[in-house]
């Protein structure tokens, strides 16, 4: 069985999407894994990468309540021929967002399901992960990411057994008001490191 892990975060280097895929990879034993970077590139490259795979796992951030443009373009281009390249494939999606509420990823998961349908593939499962900003705060499976760790174990099983399952969305084991406080501090600190005054963050143009 060949599984494609497709990292579609447009960020170069570290991203929550990559962290999620790395955690999933650790649970996918005895199977061939292919990594594909969809930060840039076109549908052709995506098609070549997923050829012959029986599971396509897309990880990406929620952008403006939907699929980020880089991935959206690749999906549109690959849609007509992906079923030929990977006829057996089931599609899984790991969407993370900046807000705390994982449920806000539900729309992007629905969009991935329409892609799957139009492409003539089979939907596996979608996971919506809230508080993407916390992905690097602890090892997945520990502390605030305990629930996420369990979810990844179950997802890996589902993929390995070639099953489909209901979409789920999760939030961290961490209070929302603290997540908000930490994020606000983070923005201010980063702005300060860039030489901005606090008031400049609110600038109108």
């Amino acid at each position: 069985m060949k599984i494609a892990l497709i990292n579609a975060s447009p960020k170069r280097g570290d991203s929550a999407s990559r962290t999620l895929l790395q955690a999933l990879e650790k649970c996918l034993h005895d199977t061939e894994i292919i990594w594909h970077d969809s930060a840039s590139g076109d549908g052709e490259e995506l098609l070549r990468a997923v050829g012959g795979c029986s599971a396509l796992v897309f990880a990406f951030p929620l952008y403006v309540d939907g699929i980020p443009a880089n991935l959206l373009r690749q999906l549109e281009q690959a849609c007509p021929s992906v079923a030929q390249a990977a006829p057996e494939a089931k599609v899984y999606a790991l969407v993370n967002n900046g807000f705390y509420d994982g449920c806000q990823n539900a729309l992007a998961l629905e969009m991935m399901q329409y892609f799957t349908q139009e492409a003539g593939l089979t939907w596996g499962q979608g996971i919506g992960v809230g508080a993407g900003g916390m992905m690097q705060s602890a090892p997945i499976g520990k502390g605030p990411l305990t629930r996420l760790g369990k979810t990844m174990d179950v997802l890996a099983d589902t993929i390995l057994q070639r099953r489909s399952a209901e979409n789920i969305t999760i939030a961290p084991n961490f209070p929302r008001f603290l997540y908000i406080q930490a994020a606000h501090m983070g923005w201010r600190l980063q702005a300060k490191n860039n030489g901005l005054k606090k008031s400049e963050l609110y600038k109108r143009y």
Binding site: P10, Y63, V64, D65, P68, F99, A183, A191, N194, E200
Partner: protein, 168 residues
Amino acid sequence: MVKRLILHDLPPQMADKLYTYDKDTTVFYAYPAVRHCVGCFGCWIKTPGQCVVTDRAREFCDMMPRQDEVIIISKLTFGGLSPDVKAVLDRSIGYMLPFFRIINGEMHHMQRFASSPALTYHFYQTAGKSAQKETAQKLAAANALNFGSSKVIVRFHEDDVLISEVLL
């Protein structure tokens, strides 16, 4: 006069008709595609309100605060916007603030500006896609919450969209 900004992905022969409309209507053509957002958050923490990438996508975000209405015309794509239109919106999050607030029990953004334009969506080529239309409707509502728009209208066009139906 009501100031309007139109973002669209229509084929050129239809788009031409938009430009001759009136002086208070500005048209932003999503094609050729702008560069896609790379997720650096520079528009929040380096040059607040402005994307650090210098292509024409900046103009769209610059114009947003001065509008009464923003009209988005897009081919319905997997229940959402087309890649060209989406690329412009992804590049426009500097319009809001990085900070969070709670609305209806969910997290959303605080707004940089005191008031936001109304949002109108026209999705075309929607025939036979009733489930996708439901998703698009929810997408528009979610976008309105995040862009701080208190008014949002969504219209679907089975086939192509006629300019006369957009500019009433």
